[in-house]
Each structure stands twice: as structure tokens, then as C-alpha cells.
């Protein structure tokens, strides 16, 4: 035992409080009246909740368009990551040596290592030639490209848990590679696909730098909207907190669902399994 039991618990409680307070504060600010928001001492519980901030947020021009952009871009890029990722993950998990393996792994790590701004400058220039600037399709493709390494790392760890013997016996029975993949690997890796899907959609949902550079008025996503509150000189914290809450709530709900796989996902790529 490193610390006395009492000290350990104190530390855990303090850390938990500090971890949750900002989340609590955002949500509570989002349902406060202006007067309560600006009152000193701050009102933690004794205020009359109101939905005013949400009504003013939802009545923002383009709010729903922005919200649906976020959902479409997140779902689209996640789908690509899963379809493409499971193929590559299978190859990387099952075959220790094949052509281009080392370069592929090097590229995957490069995505994690390089600051995205370095790649986004040229991508910005290229995408205006291709007509992909300020389009949802453009965002979907770029998000997918940046998130594929994470999807592959995570899916690899799930495929590695499937016993090779199952595949070998299927092969002995004369199953083709395609059949084996669709009949054995996919069903067995299904929980992994769900977990990876949720994890990758978190990454897309939270992404800010890519849409701030690549999206104009049409393809704007939620984080860009949230950030745009800051540039207004009249800081109105209520609707701002409502916008932040709208961005945060889906994450909190999803992470409750994937608690089990979360740890593997969050450390993926950092440690070679």
C-alpha cells in the first residue's frame, strides 16, 4: 500500500470532484437564468432551472444545419474507418510479414505524431482545386484519413483475441478467404467493431482544427459553432454553456455504454501489443 487507505480515498475523491466539476458547471450554467449565472457567490444548486438558453441556441440561424453536419460527418467518417480499418487490421493482426507492412505502420504513426496543421495547409490548398473545400464529403474523407490509424490499432487488438485455430479449421473445410472473413471474423469481431466505431466517432465529434480550416458556412460542425461564441464581444455565457452541453452530452452517454472497451481504445497506438 503506497498511501494510507484514508489518504488514498481522499485523493480519489478530490480528483473525482475536480474531474466532474467543470462538466457539472457547464450543464448547470446552461439551465440558469442570466441573473443566476452572474451572481456572486456562485449558485450551485439554489436556482430555478430554465430552458431559455436552449431555446435561444436552437433558434440560432443554421443551428440545426450545423448539428446535422456534425452527425453526418461523424457517421460517414466512422463508417469508412470501420470498413477500411477492419480489412487492414486483419492483415496486420494475422500476418507478421507482408509487403509494405513496415511503411504502413510508419505512416500510421506519422498521423499520430505530426501536428495536423502541417498536413492541413497543403490539404486546404489541394481541396480547393478538387472542389472539396467547405463540403461534408471533404470533411468525411479527411476525418476518415486522420482517424483510420486509431481504428486499425483498436480493431487489431480485438482480432488478436480471436483464436487462429477457428480460421485454420475453416480453411481445412475449404472456406475461401472472403467467406472466412464474412462468416467468422466479422461476427466474432462485432463487439470490437461497435467499440471502435464509438471511439472513432468520439474523435470525429470532438475534432476542431480540421473543420475550422476546411469548412466555411455550409459544412460547419458543432465544435466550430461552440468556438465561434468566443469571438463575439458580448460574452453571453448561458447559450454558450448550452452549446457546450449539446456537444458534451452525447459523449457522456456513449462512454457509459462503452466503459468496458474504453481503456483499450484510449491507449491504442501508444503501446505495441
Amino acid at each position: 500500500m503506497i498511501l494510507k487507505r484514508g489518504l488514498s480515498y481522499t485523493l480519489l475523491f478530490v480528483a473525482s470532484f475536480l474531474s466532474l466539476f467543470p462538466l457539472f458547471w457547464t450543464i448547470s450554467t446552461s439551465i440558469k437564468d442570466r441573473v443566476d449565472t452572474y451572481s456572486l457567490p456562485p449558485k450551485f444548486f439554489s436556482f430555478a432551472p430554465t430552458l431559455k438558453n436552449y431555446t435561444s441556441l436552437f433558434s440560432l440561424e443554421k443551428f440545426w444545419q450545423i448539428y446535422s453536419n456534425s452527425i453526418i460527418v461523424t457517421l460517414g467518417s466512422t463508417l469508412i474507418c470501420l470498413v477500411i480499418g477492419i480489412l487492414a487490421a486483419y492483415a496486420l493482426a494475422r500476418k507478421p510479414r507482408f509487403r509494405g507492412r513496415t511503411s504502413l505502420e510508419g505512416l500510421m504513426i506519422a498521423v499520430r505524431a505530426l501536428p495536423a496543421i502541417v498536413l492541413l495547409l497543403p490539404i486546404y490548398k489541394l481541396s480547393s482545386y478538387l472542389g472539396l473545400y467547405d463540403s461534408k464529403l471533404g470533411l468525411i474523407l479527411i476525418f476518415a484519413g486522420f482517424n483510420i490509424p486509431f481504428a486499425i490499432w483498436l480493431l487489431m487488438s480485438f482480432i488478436e483475441q480471436i483464436p487462429v485455430e477457428i480460421e485454420e479449421s475453416a480453411r481445412v473445410d475449404g472456406a475461401s478467404t472472403l467467406k472466412m472473413f464474412t462468416r467468422i471474423i466479422l461476427p466474432l469481431a462485432a463487439p470490437g467493431l461497435v467499440a471502435t466505431g464509438i471511439f472513432v466517432s468520439l474523435l470525429s465529434w470532438n475534432e476542431f482544427l480540421i473543420p475550422v480550416i476546411m469548412a466555411g458556412e455550409n459544412a460547419k460542425t458543432l465544435p466550430v459553432l461552440v468556438a465561434s461564441f468566443i469571438s463575439n464581444r458580448t460574452l453571453d455565457w448561458g447559450p454558450m454553456a448550452a452549446a457546450a452541453t449539446v456537444a458534451l452530452i452525447p459523449i457522456v452517454l456513449l462512454t457509459v455504454v462503452i466503459q468496458r472497451w474504453l481503456v483499450a481504445g484510449l491507449s491504442s497506438g501508444a503501446v505495441k501489443e
Binding site: M1, I2, S8, Y9, L12, A15, S19, L20, P22, L23, W25, Y38, L40, I80, I84, L87, A88, Y90, A91, R94, K95, F98, R99, L104, L107, I109, A110, R112, L114, P115, I117, V118, L119, L121, I123, Y124, L126, G145, I152, T177, W205, F208, L209, I213, V226, A227, I230, M240, A241, A244, L248, I251, V252, V263, L266, S267, A270, V271, K272, E273
Partner: protein
């Protein structure tokens, strides 16, 4: 069926991934290098021309490049010194497997999942000089109000606080994984030999998690170089350029001052800075497990 027939389709499975990575990494990278030798300004309609190493000369001669690099290093240094010890401490406490550990772990992970932009916004409200809950709490214990985002030193601390809030869980998780991998028999043997808790910590635990700590350090260095969202929301690199890191400076050069080619040259320089860390990371991560 021959062996070769079985092997070939496997490499083909990676082709779609290759295409995507070529689209977002390979092609942009080389195109970025190419742009860095032109004189593209996004506000100008003149056709770009080849200028050789001019951008590099300008960038290396500009004081902002060096001052923002220094700021990046300072934030990285303080950040590492804050996040690694706290992350290790929390991991050690979680590793004791006290009752309720799983719930505590779930709670402690939460910050790293949340949208950085939204988190930044919340903290900006909490850091508010007059109305913020942080200054109110400081006032309660008799401390002066701090104009958190108004001066360089306090803004550094504000940035470190927010980044640490989001990053400590990551350090904690990786260290926790490393702790779990240590065989319990090692501890038992040490205890039989009469080793004290602090001896066990210094002689067994710390040496065995050192490779993981190295990996974390590499990843964190790269993440500090990438730091963008929280900076953008909290200070926009201000006051002035007092909290602008090299990455944010590259963004400003390209998309605020519209000097795309000069920003591309900065990008190449960042890549060169990242390279040693990248290779050290690959080497260090092979040592882990």
C-alpha cells in the same frame, strides 16, 4: 492450395488504407514541401513563383519563430512535470484496488473524452476574473483575484491547468496498464525479504514502469507540439503572442496572415523537430511489453 495464394490477398487488404493515408499524409506532405518553395499568399491573385529557400530564410530570421518555439518548450516542460507525477500517483492509488476503484476510474477518465473546445469554453468562464468560480474559490481562502488570461505567466498556468485536466487521465491509464503487467510475485518476494513500501516503490515499481514513462513523455511532447483547441479558445495565443506555440503560429501565419508558403516552411521545420521524437517513440514503444 499453395502458400503464396493465401498470402497475396492479405497485402491487398491494406490497399484502401494506403489510399486514405496517401490522401491525408503522403501527398499533402510532399505537396507541402513543394509549396514551401513557392510564394503563395492567399490574399494575392498573382500566380505563384518559385523562390527557392526564401521562405526558410525568412522564417528562420523571424523572431516569432524562435519565441513561439521557446513558448512551446516552456509549456511542454511545465506540462510534463505536472502531468506525469500526478498521473503516476493516481495510477498507483487506483492500482491498490480499493473498493470502488472501477467507478473512480470511470470518473477520472471522463475529462479526456470531452470536446476540447467545449472544455476550453467552460474553463474560460471559470477563469473569468470577476465572475469566475475559480477566483471566487481563491477569494474564499483569502487569496487575491488573478487575471488568469491577462498576463503571460498566469495564462501559461491556465493553459497548463486545462491541458492537464484533459491529459492526466491518459498518463494515468498507460501507467495503470504498466502496473497491472508487473507480476505480483515480485512484490511478494520483496515483502518476504522484508522490503519497505518505499523500497518496493523505488526498486521495483518505478524501474519497471520507466519504459512506459518514456513512451508517455514522447507522446506528450508531440501532443504539446500539436496543442491547438484549448489554446485557441482560452487565449488565441495572447495576450499578444505571449502564449502562441509554434503550431498555433503556423496556423496564424497560414490562415490569419494568409502567408501559405511561409506557413508550409514552418510546417517542414515542425516535421524536422518532430522526427527525433518520432523515432525515439518507435524505439521506446518496442521496449514496452
Amino acid at each position: 492450395m499453395s502458400r503464396r495464394k493465401n498470402l497475396r490477398p492479405v497485402a491487398q487488404l491494406t490497399i484502401p488504407t494506403w489510399i486514405f493515408l496517401a490522401l491525408v499524409v503522403l501527398i499533402p506532405f510532399f505537396y507541402g514541401v513543394y509549396i514551401s518553395f513557392l510564394n503563395i499568399n492567399l490574399a494575392s491573385f498573382l500566380p505563384p513563383s518559385f523562390v527557392g529557400f526564401d521562405n526558410y530564410q525568412n522564417v528562420l530570421a523571424a523572431s516569432e519563430t524562435w519565441s513561439t518555439l521557446r513558448i512551446t518548450l516552456i509549456i511542454t516542460f511545465i506540462g510534463l512535470l505536472t502531468q506525469i507525477p500526478i498521473g503516476v500517483l493516481l495510477a498507483l492509488v487506483l492500482h491498490e484496488n480499493l473498493r470502488g476503484t472501477r467507478i473512480f476510474r470511470s470518473i477520472l477518465i471522463t475529462p479526456m473524452l470531452l470536446t476540447p473546445v467545449a472544455v476550453g469554453l467552460t474553463y474560460r468562464f471559470m477563469f473569468d476574473t470577476d465572475l469566475g468560480v475559480i477566483n471566487w474559490a481563491l477569494g474564499n481562502i483569502g487569496l487575491e483575484k488573478i487575471n488568469w488570461l491577462g498576463s503571460q505567466t498566469s495564462a501559461f498556468f491556465a493553459i497548463i491547468i486545462v491541458d492537464s485536466w484533459q491529459s492526466i487521465p491518459f498518463v494515468m491509464l498507460l501507467v495503470l496498464a504498466a502496473l497491472t503487467a508487473i507480476s505480483p510475485s515480485l512484490y511478494e518476494a520483496a515483502r518476504v525479504d522484508g522490503a519497505s513500501t518505499s523500497q518496493i516503490l523505488r526498486r521495483i515499481t518505478l524501474p519497471l514502469i520507466t519504459p512506459t514513462l518514456l513512451v508517455i513523455t514522447m507522446i506528450k511532447i508531440m501532443d504539446f507540439l500539436k496543442l491547438f483547441d484549448t489554446l485557441f479558445i482560452l487565449t488565441r495565443g495572447g495576450p499578444g503572442n505571449a502564449t502562441t506555440t509554434l503550431g498555433l503560429w503556423t496556423y496564424k501565419t497560414g490562415f490569419v496572415f494568409l502567408e501559405l508558403s511561409r506557413a508550409a516552411a514552418l510546417g517542414v521545420i515542425i516535421t524536422i523537430i518532430t522526427l527525433p521524437v518520432y523515432f525515439l517513440w518507435r524505439r521506446a514503444s518496442r521496449g514496452v511489453r
